[in-house]
Symmetry: C2
Subunit: 515 residues, 2 copies
């Protein structure tokens, strides 16, 4: 690449209206400056979706990357906006398509996306009141509502919006570390023999290990507790892990329970885990990034009983909440445990300003500049209501149960376990374990390459071959039973084609071997 890839001259700045390209989104003139540009974006999105015509464009990653590079090199001037929006839409894996169902990657509600536009246009930043007067108040209100939702006392709880479960889990473990080992701990200065330990299930999110590494504890500080077949933590094994830590002289600083594992949506037995954590005086962090969405459904909310006993909780409304990324929420049950981040920056939250009534959220977040991600969620909760959102959760849950039924009914497919929330884990059945792994991995890539479907892939805990599974994470509330059936038919056809060495199931012709 050469420097010329950053165009030195745009179109508009040199054209007839040199100020038009430099128009701002804020102020009284902002809305009118935005209007024609947004029309360009919507036209680009529509054209890109039409050109894609499915859940993902057909082609290899390198073919798609070449298209993007070409578009970037050719785009300049005012037309670049619509042209690149079209490229982004064409080259999307669009979760609004019922055949795009791989990950905890939701199709956002239009109302949430529209609300987020207001945030971008005004650009408030939550690190000081005088960058975000209304947004500061709004986040505080929304957090109180979130505290109430998980069963915390809003008058005692504290929290913050985050970039997602990974940041929220990091915050929970940071607070746990600092409560047990002291604030602003110098880990390298601890007495020899102090070995902090984190207990989490085998199916806990990998961000637990990441957090341990970042926090200077090392990934080996995380001891994994076995799970049952549905990937729920075994509470008896957690009790054993505490005993083992005692024998080994290790210091359990946190238990991480998962309410909604990434693959099966399994919810660890929260009441038993809370009892154990309480007995050992250990911080309990509950990663409810996925399962927290069930709180919106009156039918499913009881699955999370015990959540109110957590010391800290992760919630992600860009998963089962239909918000565009990011809308993470971190909550601590007791504000007094939230001291690690308290910080005075003379230019952001001087003491006399706080004494004069100017509140500061700086000490709640790991970030400094921070977009008010609370706004879109607050709007969505008011436009749809909790029950309206709960109805969407119930629809996705129903879709998962229907999909599981369809998998059970298909002789070529094998269901791993009943869905708990909205995810279905299964495989294309091949007798030989190693062959099963190869076929399932390849059929998934075949579906991607042909643009037919975006299906997830994972591996069950354990060792050895035979653990690769496919996964549908159903987050589109408008998906019909017919669309689910078509999606599973596509899986079966791709499986047959892959097993048979890449013949196209329709034409019988031999395709390029799957790679």
């Amino acid at each position: 690449m050469t420097t010329d890839q950053i165009p030195t001259r745009g179109g508009t700045m040199d054209g007839q209206h040199p100020e038009a390209a430099a128009a701002l989104s804020g102020g009284a003139a902002g809305p009118e400056a935005l209007r024609p540009l947004i029309a360009d974006v919507l036209a680009g999105l529509a054209a890109g979706a039409a050109r894609r015509g499915g859940p993902i464009p057909a082609g290899t990653p390198e073919q798609l990357a070449a298209q993007v590079r070409e578009a970037l090199a050719g785009a300049h001037g005012p037309a670049a906006l619509g042209a690149l929006a079209e490229v982004l839409a064409h080259g999307a894996a669009d979760p609004a398509d019922p055949a795009c169902a791989a990950h905890l990657h939701c199709p956002p509600l239009a109302v949430a996306v529209a609300a987020d536009l207001a945030v971008s246009a005004l650009n408030p930043s939550q690190d000081s009141w005088d960058q975000a007067p209304a947004a500061t108040a709004l986040e505080s209100e929304l957090l109180a509502e979130m505290a109430e939702l998980v069963g915390f006392d809003p008058a005692r709880a504290a929290g913050v919006l985050t970039t997602g479960g990974t940041e929220s889990n990091l915050m929970g473990l940071m607070l746990a570390r600092d409560r047990r080992l002291g604030p602003d701990v110098e880990l390298n200065g601890l007495p020899a023999g102090v070995r902090p330990r984190i207990l989490a299930s085998e199916a806990a999110h990998f961000s637990v290990q990441r957090a341990a590494a970042l926090l200077g504890l090392g990934e080996r500080a995380v001891r994994t507790v076995p799970v049952d077949r549905d990937l729920r933590m075994d509470a008896g094994a957690l009790a054993d892990a505490f005993v083992e830590a005692g024998w080994e002289g290790a210091t359990p600083i946190a238990v991480v329970a998962t309410a909604g594992t990434t693959d099966t949506g399994a919810i660890d037995p929260l009441p038993e885990i809370a009892d154990l954590a309480a007995r050992h005086g250990t911080w309990l962090h509950v990663d409810a990034a996925y399962g927290g969405g069930a709180l919106l459904s009156r039918r499913l909310a009881p699955l999370l009983d015990g959540l109110d006993r957590a010391d800290s909780v992760s919630l992600d409304w860009h998963k089962l909440g239909w918000q565009p990324a990011a809308t993470g929420v971190f909550l601590a049950r007791e504000a007094r445990t939230y001291a690690s981040l308290a910080r005075r920056a003379v230019y952001l939250n001087p003491a006399d300003d706080e004494a004069a009534g100017y509140p500061s959220l700086l000490g709640q977040s790991l970030r400094t500049t921070r977009r008010p991600d609370a706004f879109k969620l607050a709007v969505t909760l008011r436009v749809l209501g909790r029950d309206g959102l709960g109805a969407l959760v119930d629809r996705c849950h129903l879709a998962a149960r229907q999909a599981a039924q369809l998998v059970r009914a298909a002789p070529e497919l094998e269901l791993h376990c009943d869905p708990v929330l909205t995810a279905v884990v299964f495989r294309y059945a091949v007798p030989d374990p190693a062959d099963s792994d190869r076929v399932n991995a390849e059929l998934r890539r075949h579906l991607l390459r042909t643009g037919r479907a975006v299906v997830g892939r994972t591996e069950l805990p354990g060792h050895g071959p035979g653990r690769v599974r496919l996964k549908l994470t159903l987050l589109n509330p408008h998906t019909t039973q017919e669309q689910l059936a078509a999606l599973l038919r596509a899986v079966v056809e791709a499986g047959a084609s892959t097993r048979d060495g890449g013949k196209d199931p329709k034409t019988g012709e031999r395709a390029r071997p799957p790679h």
Copy 2:
């Protein structure tokens, strides 16, 4: 608060068109679903800006918070979207208003905001290729352009988009820690006597201390190096700090240089610092979150000579780059030093998918779910061109020089130092140091409370009274000299009023005493 504050029922879900509120932003139908909602948002933004009528609404934080609470409690159904957009706009500190000039809080370009809408609507996530095919390629291209911009070899560099300088600084220090102390280090298991040390100037951003605490090194691991009057690091003092570390048996793991301090925009002497870091084999991280914007200006770019010798760099295009938050960029000069985050998650980047050509950005980021913040910047660079953006940087730099001239010319005001980039540090001159601090702090709150201006406030390094200063951070390229003069007149009037005990300078009436 009660649970009723989350409305259990929205309007639309129960009304005539139960599906309308649950419309998605993606797919072929998304653009048309968005259109009327965006019209509501733009109307709300316009109404809010008109009602505000200035840089910030008049009133106390508590009065504004009460308005927000009332609006949240009263909003439900489809009308909530426009109503809450109006509340957010009314209660904004709007950087598009020339009298809002406190922080590194830029007014976004309308084109960047419109581009970001495409991202929200499609909701790609950068943690796996199959959630973001085009966005994955686009981020890689943009990062190569960014590497080129700072003088790195794009073929050797690596990087990622971040939430801002705080996250970028954390990443730089994490890589530095792990390079020196080993990957996945258990700090509590280090041999006794290993004391990691970070060297940064007194004027470095507080996120350096925050990162040290998060990384388990403790804030005391950061040794501050003295600065000159303009807040530039003293290179001789840095040399001394290395000698001192040697005497004390401490291990310098990183030097943090600042290219654009938050207050004065001072740029540390990068070539001398790079020489020292190289001599001691110490990682050099350059925090160019603010000053990196100068790279766009051919006139100012030479101020950052030496940046290409950094091991890692922070850039923030939501500062001097007119992007909505967040558009942080972290870059490492050598991709091979970027190993700390390498991670395989069986459901995101299995080895056989990577071997089959499916690229993964998971190992580049501290986050998992990650919005493609690169898109808006890539679009902006193409619509305006680098020179178009550079012209905006030059305008803000000129505004700062004009403001400094106006401050010099005003007998009531005292300039601290000549502006380097776009920030001007000064004070309302009061002979007694303690009184100076009180008057300057109070006059700033007076301007906020009356809705006249949003001016920054900081403290110079050191101890004792007399260090409080006011600050204009000029990031609005459309601000005129007349508007700057009016802003400074408002400061002078508020100063006189505050010094005289709160008399209104226009009416001569005694206002409520400033608090």
